[in-house]
Symmetry: C2
Subunit: 231 residues, 2 copies
Amino acid sequence: MADPSANAAQSYCYQYPHPAVTTDVVLFTIHEDSLQLLLIERGNKPFKGSWALPGGFLNIDEDLDACAARELAEETGVAPPYLEQLGAFGKPGRDPRERVISVAYLALAPETALAVRAGDDAAAAAWFSVKALPALAFDHAEIIALAHRRLIGKLDNSTIAFQLLPETFTLGELQRVYETLVDAEIDKRNFRKWAQALEQIEATGELRRRGNHRPARVYRLTDRDRITRFK
Amino acid sequence: MADPSANAAQSYCYQYPHPAVTTDVVLFTIHEDSLQLLLIERGNKPFKGSWALPGGFLNIDEDLDACAARELAEETGVAPPYLEQLGAFGKPGRDPRERVISVAYLALAPETALAVRAGDDAAAAAWFSVKALPALAFDHAEIIALAHRRLIGKLDNSTIAFQLLPETFTLGELQRVYETLVDAEIDKRNFRKWAQALEQIEATGELRRRGNHRPARVYRLTDRDRITRFK
DNA sequence: GCAAAAGTGTTAGCTCTACACCCATGC
DNA sequence: GCATGGGTGTAGAGCTAACACTTTTGC
């Protein structure tokens, strides 16, 4: 590792070479019927000025999950309700500075209450549609591709997509989340039957008037943290 | 990190503390209608004398997958045909020596041609039934539990279990692999219909006489490396 | 009154599951 | 000849997928 400022500061020594360990988070949300993910513009070298996943170095006494959450909060001000480990990425040479093993995470959040702000060594933080990503630093394009595949793959054997819903929602909104994710139209009656049979949503009793059409019933999740898996 | 031999040898220095990175492999096979996995008896501290997953430290220029394969070969003499990353385990304190992040792997192999021998810093290598595991070093019980869940979970949306088959096999043997994995009986006619509809096995034309009953048709995989995933 | 999304059941096709008997061999 | 696993088809149940019209609102 080349220390730019002072060689005297290199005070952590080991008998064998050690790689650095980072976490990187792929945070998805749905905004305006488009699947988006959060990127930061790097404020430091390497790849200064490029877009990258939020993430950073693991503290020596910190759990991996905690590191992912902390780095996301520091760089973007976001604390997502769902965070799942994706896997470790460690090809030699993926970081020009030194050998770095990155543990990648998949996170999901509703678009509401996601006040994104750049912090720390992020020059900027912004949402990008997965269909129009900028050039990415490191191997982050690869990590995003895996995260996307994992998300889509879990759609039809779990209720993971419910994590993208705000506090309250209509069945139409829920259907649009699914249609956005699978990028196809879904039959309305079949979808509503399926969703209601899950026993994971309940009507609040309220109606939501929005636009020039009949008002929709409002629902909430019965248990926000429960993700059902069915084979 | 305490260097037992010489402090002068601690020559790899960094500006910030770095964890060590290891890989550990959960290698499953099926032997005598029992799902077994490979463990080594540790020859060095910590946990000297306990059983543990084969694995070890990542070389600084080595890919993670390569490290898993190498350590498995060094310690047990085995080169499994299937190796898939399971995830990173990194709870602080999981290794008493220093902070260690372990990238765990799931491996599958047919029992044939698995000449296991202890090597390197393994005092012994042996197969254990997943139903009768010894006390395990580190957090390896947790890793094994995840590997087992992952294997079972993939059973009915992929043909991953075919990786447990030897070069040639009968439909009865294939069925017994599945019955061992799900730990339940499966209807013979339904299973055979399913297996043959996959178009992943082909009859060699040979018959196998084994025991006092009608000889069985012998099959092989049409493409050993192809693992079909169906939702 | 018209445009736009909300809401609601039924049917046909397909997949999944349950189930029983004859065959070829070794002893 | 008997015990053992190999090999084969069909029918009912359950699930999935296709499909159209009425309702309530804003303008």
